[in-house]
Amino acid sequence: MTASLIRILPDLARYAAKALTEKKLRSLLTIVGIAIGPMALTAILGVVQGYSNYVINQLEGLGQNLIILVPSANYDMSSSDIAFLRDLPGVKEVTPFYSLRAKAKQGVRDIDIAIYAVDLDVFFHALGKLRLEEGSLPPPGDTASAVIGHYIAFDETGTRYYRVGDVLTLTYYSFKRGRLIQHSISVIVAGVLAEFGNAFFVNPDVTVFLPLDAGPKLLGMKKWSGIIVVADSPAYVENLTKFLREVYGERANVISLIEISKVVASITAAMRFITIAAGSAAFAVAATGIAATMITSVMERTREIGVLKAIGFTDAEIVTSIILEAILMSLLGSAFGIAAGVAAAYALSTRGMVLQGMQVVIRAPPEITLPMIVKTIALTIVIGVLGSLLPAHRAARIPPAEALRYE
């Protein structure tokens, strides 16, 4: 019996398709209703996944074995910290750094940049992705030479402002005895970095890197801004971070990029959960929409269903044709929904996500995968079947003799 049902499935599907075309507007509206769930899921999940992959990639590119210690206002880091950190198991290198925000001229335009004075060999070794496009790293003693980020040497259109050997003037502010003082310093460009892409914490594209000694000598800074710890392997980072937090407590912030990527991953997971929860609401609405449409259509077709029974269709065959009708609507709905969702995802992602305070705009293409699409279609079909169960049951229960008299 089931075998014969499968054999006549194509014919039942054809009949179901014809039934849909009878009330075109109603079918279309139901399909639009169905499409909202898959559209929302595809668009939001695609964008969230795209951003999340991007952020995690960036963080991992920035150095998975980095831990950064930033002292709080009432704690000064010194060489005893360096000695302590250097002796910890799993630690490969330790270097302090100075950092501040400054402005640089690009033609007539002022751009915001960051200055890092750090052990350049250690830093460039730890961030394997950093590449020099031109020039070379200045030697440790050459405190007036700098490696500059790609978007200091060039603007977005590719116009060049600085090349190796040029003098770059940097402006920054500091407080001395309660008064704001403007400083202007000049450095010689020793190297230009290849484009790195947007990043967190350190954005190399708009950073001027100076040798460590430039901190006190050129910038006049007495306190380290923090200490960079390079672990032997990313596997040690989590335990080291935990240990350092216990040791330093309130005195310093311990930041590891792996940890940030974990946080981002968990935020993404939460967002995905919320999206799916909200999406399920859309799916529930779709199921009731299908149920409402199909019940109306089954009632309108009571007589026709009576005729089908009279000419020898079994209840199972009639139920199948009703469910097929819903599946067809679900397929069309998910196709429209996913297409609209993909379009919406791309539209949303070109606007980018602005991270306030970090001066970073993330522009990442949405991540729309085949398994995601397959799952969405499958879910929509399940919803269609669920929505059509009641109407199909109704149709099967119609007694043929009465149905034939139905007006």
Binding site: I8, K18, R303, P399, P400, A401, R405
Partner: protein
């Protein structure tokens, strides 16, 4: 009116048939009770009838006499409250829904007063419909559809049209083609001329006569229309849920002969 009480007593209908042949359809002491709310309605009260192969029987009776209930039970669209139904000698009164659907599909063809064609399907698809549950290959279905349409005196130019593009008489021919497409043994027709004008009714009556004579189809027609009933080989009178008499039809009163 001459009544053939002998036939009523035994509920025999042996016109031109050799005795001992298995009836196509037999109802034995069939009762049907409907519950309408609290009220019980006795639609059939011990109806017995035998329809032999090759018969063309008209069942006449006033409204509420149980004509439709009889046809529904005979056509396995409804089950009797009491009594037995035999189709081709087999007791079918207690079969399950699937088995009854299969028998309806293979043994019985229905013709209705309101034609009951499916409006969004083409004429071809309408006639093809009973062949769908059989899972026949497309080419075989097409052969059967064309044959049925020819036998029902339809025109192949109708095939791509929709039912509402045809006249009532044409639609009834299509409905008859649908009824005979699956090569059934028995045609059950419920007021087949009820929605047609007289001239068209005459042609439909002539078609039934021809299908009975040439295609050897057994036909049972339930009707109010004496001009159709007199086209049959036999007229059974139904009243209060029972067959109360039989009548030999007068061919000169048959609409097919009087109005051609």
């Amino acid at each position: 009116m001459t009544r053939d009480y002998r036939a009523v007593d035994g509920a025999e209908s042996t016109l031109g048939q050799s005795p001992g042949q298995v009836p196509i359809l037999e109802l034995r002491d069939v009762h049907k009770v409907y519950k309408v709310g609290e009220v019980k309605v006795h639609a059939l009260r011990g109806l017995s009838v035998r329809i032999m192969p090759g018969d063309f029987v008209a069942v006449m009776g006033p409204s509420g006499s149980g004509k439709s209930t009889f046809l529904n039970i005979a056509g396995l669209l409804d089950v009797p409250t009491r009594g037995k139904v035999f189709l081709l000698g087999r007791d079918v009164s207690r079969l399950n829904e699937v088995a009854r659907a299969r028998i309806r599909n293979r043994v019985i063809g229905f013709v209705f007063q309101q034609f009951n064609l499916i409006p969004r399907l083409t004429i071809y698809e309408n006639i093809e419909m009973p062949l769908i549950p059989r899972g026949l290959p497309r080419r075989e279905r097409k052969k059967l559809v064309l044959k049925a349409l020819r036998e029902a005196e339809g025109d192949t130019s109708w095939l791509p049209k929709k039912p509402l593009q045809l006249s009532g008489g044409q639609q009834q021919r299509v409905a008859i083609a649908r009824a005979i497409v699956g090569r059934p043994r028995l045609i059950l027709a419920d007021e087949p001329t009820g929605a047609l004008d007289r001239a068209t009714a005459a042609r439909i009556a002539a078609l039934f006569i021809r299908l009975n004579r040439e295609e050897k189809l057994t036909i049972v027609v339930v009707t109010h229309d004496p001009e159709l009933a007199h086209c049959a080989r036999k007229i059974l009178m139904i009243r209060d849920g029972r067959i109360v008499g039989a009548e030999a039809p007068q061919p000169q009163r048959c609409i097919a002969y009087s109005r051609r």
